[in-house]
């Protein structure tokens, strides 16, 4: 029987499964033990079942107008309880600091006056929306949902790669991956205590309701606003709406009159209190932003300003996840929270300083260059993998617009075994945990989206760039009293067996016919 791990080579990044060749780390022992005896054919069959299930359920993302499944790798990624505790604390700390920053830059501007962040960084950010100044959310929350992209460096330390506090997507894959995996690898689920992720929709709904404007009813009306079926994340929008039990609306379903927002229903117009929007700021309100937007709702921003509706996430959050601002987040954590950052950044160069720029230009082929407001891996140049022409091109662009770029050390992302063909091979991964802020507490969903770069050696892990995903298992703390993992109880034995289902008339007559034949048989 062929070994799935045949010719599996460690490196160049931190291998999450193996401490040394053939030596699985503690967290992966049980999974390794399950995989080891499987033949590649066995695993292949399960992988096919997994892929088919996703396609039939329409769990897809649209790329250039074509719906594609987001490949789910059959080998999960496992994070130990202690490691997760660091991630959880670090992510929550970061969101708290970013919340404080947003409230500050769209308000008093203390952080600017104190010189912690230069004004130039804020006012030149493409997503600093002056239209959002003066909009004060009722419960103070602007980042209702955040996705913080993390990587593990060569030493296995989690580092923040970027923040997403506009409309982070991907949480639907976290939920669907888990569902699918429990069907194809039930034996590992049985032997491992994995923290569940299915409570996400109810947590999100709780946070959205808590954000309702003053004067809304006790059961505020929440809707999910989608750009429509052609959006790449439409599947997610529909899933969240369905699992929260709220309406999934498009811009054309909403009408804003006299600063009140309502949806058009078969029974007339119905008031809306909270809009979980999955539309970018620029398309949200043609009165304030792009006039040609047919996705948005005219008048929405002023309705929010008047305190009649809550837009979640808030408009203008992009100033906080600008990649240049990212370099200041550790300072923001110290400034607003008086704490040291729990999760370090990746070493990053700001290019506005001519000396730094010159230094960076000298060693482009060893660095990663990122446009400050690109998302989804768009525009990223990895120096070590770029051609001379690409390097020359990025050099010209850096010189033309140093504010538009940052440079980072190339981190060799950590690796997890991944089914490639019929063998397991190490592939680079990142992690996007999702955090929900309800105003009193920031909850981080245990797990998150692990994206895996499928081509060998690839470092950009994105769905639009040949990426797949992995189910991410956070192990329950072994003795954690705080952790309420229910004890497995044997099913209660029935006092007496339930009666048999009623038989239909046909069955009886067949039996009788058989009996008659048997009787006849004996007689002969």
């Amino acid at each position: 029987m062929a070994d799935l791990f045949e010719n599996y080579r460690l490196g160049p990044g931190w291998d999450e499964m193996f401490a040394a060749a053939g030596m699985p780390r503690d967290t992966y022992e049980s999974l390794h033990a399950t995989l080891q005896p499987l033949s590649s054919a066995d695993l292949g069959v399960r992988a096919d079942v997994l892929a088919r299930a996703f396609l039939d359920q329409g769990i897809t993302f649209a790329l250039k107008g074509i719906e594609r499944p987001f490949p789910l790798d059959i080998v999960p990624r496992i994070i130990a309880a202690a490691q997760w505790a660091v991630v959880e604390t670090g992510v929550a700390q970061r969101i708290r600091a970013l919340e404080a920053f947003l409230s500050d830059v769209y308000g008093a501007g203390e952080v600017l006056a104190a010189g912690v962040v230069p004004r130039s960084v804020v006012v030149t950010s493409a997503h600093f929306h002056r239209e959002a100044a003066g909009i004060v959310p009722h419960n103070g929350v602007r980042v209702h949902v955040a996705g913080v992209d993390l990587v593990r460096d060569e030493e296995g330390t989690f580092r923040v790669l970027e923040d997403n506090v506009r409309v982070p997507s991907g949480v639907s894959y976290v939920m669907e991956n888990r569902r699918a995996m429990s069907h194809v690898l039930p034996e590992v689920f049985a032997s491992t205590r994995i923290r569940p992720v299915e409570s996400y929709p109810s947590q999100l709904l709780g946070a959205l309701r808590a954000a309702a404007p003053a004067g809304a009813s006790d059961e505020p009306t929440v809707v999910v606003l989608t750009p429509g079926v052609h959006n790449s994340a439409y599947f997610e929008h529909a899933l969240l709406a369905r699992e929260m039990g709220v309406e999934l609306v498009e811009g054309r379903d909403l009408i804003c009159a006299g600063n009140r927002v309502a949806m058009r229903t078969t029974a007339g117009e119905q008031r809306v209190d909270v809009i979980y929007r999955r539309i970018d700021d620029e398309f949200l309100d043609p009165v304030q932003f792009r006039t040609d937007s047919i996705l948005g709702v005219a008048g929405l921003l002023n309705a929010a300003r008047a305190g009649q509706v809550t837009i979640a996430n808030a408009v203008g959050n992009g100033v906080a996840d600008d990649k240049l601002l990212y370099t200041y987040v550790p300072d923001l954590i110290r400034f607003y929270l008086g704490q040291d950052p729990v999760l370090p950044n990746v070493e990053t160069y700001r290019l506005a300083d001519p000396d730094v720029l010159a230094h960076v230009l000298d060693r482009l082929d060893t660095l990663v260059l990122k446009p400050v407001d690109g998302s989804g891996g768009a525009g990223i140049v990895i120096g070590s993998q770029a051609t001379d022409a690409e390097l020359a091109d990025v050099r010209a662009r850096l010189l033309r617009d140093p504010r538009g770029w940052i440079a980072q050390r190339e981190v060799k992302l950590s690796m997890v075994p991944t089914l490639i063909g019929n063998r397991l091979r190490p592939r680079h991964v990142d992690l996007r945990p999702f955090a929900v802020n309800d105003g009193s507490r920031i909850s981080v969903l245990p797990g998150g989206l692990t994206r895996v770069a499928l081509p060998e050696g690839a470092l950009v892990v994105n769905s639009s760039q040949g990426g797949g995903s992995k189910d991410t298992w956070v192990l329950a703390a072994p003795m954690g009293p705080a952790e309420s993992v229910p004890e497995l109880r044997p099913a209660a034995p029935h006092a007496e067996p339930a009666p048999r289902p009623d038989p239909g008339p046909g069955t009886t007559s067949t039996q009788q016919q058989q009996q008659q034949q048997q009787v006849g048989g004996v007689r002969c």
Partner: protein, 313 residues
């Protein structure tokens, strides 16, 4: 319920019914055409296209294969079988949090199977394709029945299905009326509705034109009769409408359907059959009026607005 979602459900109902009925009509008529050596293929094809409201190409003599392409496989035409199924799926995609996951998966899987439709036709013949369509539609109807709660969404789905059924049944009966009663014999008609056996049981083998038309038009118990479909549409509308006032019914749509239903119910079979063409034309008119009235009342203004910017100095 959101107007846009209600509209989607209504159209899912219509499109799925359209796909199924078109498949049924084509299946039986094509079979008939090929089996009967006295049928002029071109004329029969033209008659069929005209009854189905499809544009009739003038450039060449029509063949059964061409009709299958136009009414069966043309993905760009929402009145073809393939087009209607694709349109139903597109509507469900926009209403995905409202239709049950099982219904969505069924529609989606059907849609994923459509690219193979042509291959299926070529390899196994049209009958196999139409049988597959009927089966998928039946699965879908079954899942809707088993998994949708009987709320507004359900009512719009059934309303759409019933309105489409009235429309398609009227067209089906027209194939007979237009062809002068010979080409698609009543046997064909009854078969295409899946009503052959029921009819035989009901009329105990006395097969004649009037009985067949009466059955398809007026039978209270057979679910594909025009009368039954109109009655279902009427009860859906009644449940959707606000409580009636003291006089009459509350909505235009109820009035239109009610008038049409009573017309069938109380005019008497003989009188109706003497004026069959007029009655059928009236039914088709009813369908389009109901469609308009329902859209006006329940689906108002669900299209996107294009904004123009303006400023003065």
């Amino acid at each position: 319920m959101l107007s846009r979602i209600a509209e989607s459900l209504y159209w899912i109902g219509r499109y799925v019914e359209r796909a199924e009925d078109t498949a049924r009509i084509l299946d039986v008529h094509l079979h008939q055409m090929l089996a009967d050596p006295w049928v002029g293929e071109d004329a029969a094809c033209r008659s069929l296209l005209s009854v189905m409201g499809a544009p009739i190409p003038d450039d060449m003599p029509l063949s059964a294969g061409r009709v299958v392409t136009l009414l069966g496989l043309d993905a760009g035409n929402p009145s073809s079988v393939v087009g209607a199924l694709a349109a139903a799926r597109e509507n469900a995609r926009g209403a995905r949090e409202t239709v049950s996951s099982e219904m969505w998966e069924c529609l989606n899987a059907t849609w994923l199977g459509l690219p193979d439709a042509r291959v299926r036709v070529e390899q196994q013949g049209v009958h196999a394709f139409f049988a597959w369509v009927r089966e998928r539609c039946a699965v879908l109807a079954g899942l809707a029945d088993a998994t949708m709660s009987r709320d507004e969404g359900w009512l719009f789905l059934v309303l759409g299905r019933s309105v489409e059924r009235v429309d398609m049944s009227a067209r089906l009966l027209s194939t007979h009326a237009r062809a002068g009663g010979s080409i698609p014999s009543w046997l064909t008609l009854l078969r295409s509705c899946g009503a052959w056996e029921t009819f035989l049981r009901t009329y105990r083998g006395s097969l004649d034109d009037r009985h067949a038309a009466e059955f398809l038009l007026l039978d209270r118990l057979f679910p594909r009769s025009v009368f039954a479909a109109l009655s279902i549409a009427e009860s859906c509308l009644a449940e959707l409408a606000p409580g009636p006032g003291r006089a009459g019914v509350a909505t235009d749509a109820q009035r239109i359907v009610g008038r049409s239903r009573t017309n069938l119910e109380f005019r008497g079979a003989d009188e109706l059959l003497d004026d069959l063409a007029g009655v059928l034309a009236g039914l088709e008119r009813t369908c389009s009026q109901v469609n308009d009235a329902v859209s006006r009342r329940y689906f108002r203004a669900t299209s996107a607005v294009t904004w123009v910017s303006e400023a003065v100095a």
